[in-house]
């Protein structure tokens, strides 16, 4: 490298460009991986792109979107997805928070508990889903044996239209509650002590200080959890696909499963893209209020 005539000045200009240079790779890659699919989806959605009819191509305008949104299956999937997301998220938050509270203050064996907590959401969902399939097995599966042990009648679990969705909610709760626990625990441990001391001076009991002191301070973190879990619940695929495949009938056909069916079973990419776009709009609208909490700089 030759020494420039004004090294300081040159270093300064180089450095002013640093944010641009450092951000360029990630922005380019993400653009390629997201903008292209997005635009391509828009293109497919307004054209006939049915792989079973390769000759029938052409501009169809809003026909694909209308066909998808007016399908009875769409409304059904929207409901199934809604129930799955809301119920799972609510239970995961409540149970996750209670377990985090139990771990909050130092306790014997906490390292062992954390070790067990870190496993469920990291281990391969497909492998776990296969195990759950066997656990739910109505004939000879451990869950029904356990019920019988307590004198309860066996249930059909994933084979029954009424219980299939609750079964999948159970699997998700099992898999992701520890994740919620670990995040909220990190938040609890980092809280300042003074507000709690002040509260107990005023005679507040344990639960009242949890409710009035800890929870308000954890609000930003709770929003982060709701956002991340909400997005992932909305997109859940592995467990549904392995355990029920959307069935029995279409009892567990979420939007994501419907999308898979349209694209890879009916080979109707036009309608699938229209549905994909609808899902994208839905998720962006629903997460908008939470976004600024994650990117806002806390001073």
């Amino acid at each position: 490298m030759t020494v420039p005539t004004r090294p300081r000045a040159r270093a300064m200009t180089l450095d002013r460009a640093a944010p641009v240079l450092m951000l360029l790779p990630i922005l380019l890659v993400l653009a390629a991986l997201t903008l292209y699919p997005f635009l391509a989806n828009v293109w497919y959605a307004v054209h006939a792109k049915d792989l079973t009819q390769p000759l029938n191509t052409g501009f169809t305008g809003a026909r694909n979107i209308t066909a998808v949104v007016t399908k009875a299956a769409f409304l059904h999937s929207l409901t199934v997805t809604g129930i799955f997301v809301v119920v799972s998220l609510a239970i995961e938050l409540v149970v996750g928070f209670l377990v985090a509270l139990a771990l909050w203050k130092p306790i014997g064996g906490s390292r062992l508990y954390t070790t067990i907590l870190i496993l469920p959401f990291g281990l391969t969902p497909v492998a776990l889903a296969l195990a759950w399939r066997l656990i739910f097995n109505p004939a000879g599966g451990p869950l029904n044996l356990l019920l019988g042990y307590f004198g309860l009648p066996p249930l059909d679990w994933t084979a029954s239209p009424q219980l299939a969705l609750p079964s999948l909610i159970i699997v998700d709760i099992w898999q992701w509650t520890p994740f919620v626990t670990l995040i909220l625990l990190a938040g609890l441990v980092a809280l300042p002590k003074e507000p709690f001391e002040a509260a107990s001076m005023e005679g507040a009991g344990y639960w009242s200080s949890v409710w009035h002191v800890a929870l308000p301070m954890l609000r930003p973190l709770l929003l982060v959890v709701v956002l991340f879990r909400g997005i992932d619940l909305f997109r859940t695929f592995d467990t549904f696909w392995v355990i029920t495949g959307g069935g029995p009938g279409n009892a567990t056909e979420t939007l994501n499963m419907l999308l898979y069916r349209l694209a890879f079973q009916n080979l109707n990419f036009g309608q699938a893209s229209a549905l994909a776009l609808t899902m994208l709009v839905l998720i962006i609208v629903l997460t908008q209020p939470f976004m600024k909490h994650l990117v806002g700089r806390r001073s």
């Binding site: 344990y206 930003p220 990419f269 776009l277």
Partner: protein
């Protein structure tokens, strides 16, 4: 708020109860995997049946499954390396500098995580088909970069954000540019966080099914795709299936436990000042 014997007992009971529930399915997988194939076939072997390694031997003798694990290893390693190289500078600059448009850039990076896999799969299926990347390791590496790029960025941003300001400012004062500061001052300080991020990114690549199944799965199978081949239509071989599940999750379990401390810290996404 003073801890006493009674609350401590209550907390321990709660924790033990929950950990039993969480450990049960994992114990079930191991129990079935390590029982003789005949005893396992009923679905629920007795808890204290004899340990038997026939199922494990069957899995290791299955060339296709082992090849799939090797594919997963290669794809996971390469995509993790790419993700780290791309996200480290971006996370560093967003965590340590204020510049115009930072918030919108971060919001956009986060929004890429919202794409359902199939939104991405459809166009890439058509693109890959025309350029010959369907069913290749390269194609899956490209797809797996998208899976965790945003996650890596936000985890790393929280680690860089925890660095004390004065050491960074001292480096700048001495005339080190952003890159020098990153490589000689910041990176050595966040080594644990970097390792935790890399491990989590690798884990998500190893676990990924939707892309691996739709954009590959013929000649190039990953572990999760290969294990589905164990599910026959008629009689599922329960023992070998759970043995394969064990082989699939065991390396991940070891990785996660090894990086436990920094993972737990990194998962809070800098939403807390710790």
């Amino acid at each position: 708020m003073r801890p006493n014997r009674k609350t401590e007992l209550a907390r321990t009971l709660v924790l033990i109860a929950f950990c039993c529930v969480w450990a049960a399915p994992l114990v079930y997988i191991l129990r079935v995997a390590l029982t003789s194939p005949l005893e396992g076939q009923a679905g629920t072997p007795p808890l204290f049946a004899a340990i038997d390694f026939q199922n494990m031997q069957a899995v290791f003798a299955n060339g296709e499954f082992i090849r799939a694990l090797l594919n997963s290893l290669v794809i996971g390693t390469v995509s993790t390396a790419l993700i780290i190289v791309i996200s480290v500078p971006a996370a560093f600059i967003c965590a340590t500098r204020e510049f115009k448009g930072r918030e919108s850039i971060e919001a956009w990076i986060l929004s890429t995580r919202m794409m359902p896999a199939f939104v991405v799969v459809l166009p890439y299926f058509i693109l890959f088909r025309s350029v010959g990347l369907l069913d290749t390791v390269t194609g899956l590496v490209i797809m797996h970069v998208i899976v965790s790029l945003a996650l890596a960025f936000f985890m790393l941003r929280s680690f860089f954000g925890e660095l004390p300001r004065d050491i960074l400012e001292a480096a700048y004062m001495e005339g080190a540019g952003a890159y020098r500061t990153l490589f000689s001052v910041a990176l050595p300080q966040v080594r644990a966080g970097l390792t935790a991020t890399a491990i989590l990114v690798f884990v998500f690549s190893w676990n990924e099914l939707a892309f691996a199944f739709t954009l590959a799965g013929g000649a190039v199978k990953t572990g999760p795709v290969a294990i589905l081949a164990f599910m026959g239509f008629q009689n599922v071989q329960i023992g070998p299936l759970m043995a394969a599940a064990t082989v699939l999750v065991l390396p991940i379990a070891i990785l996660l436990i090894a990086a436990q401390k920094s993972l737990v810290r990194g998962l809070s996404f800098g939403a807390i000042k710790g």
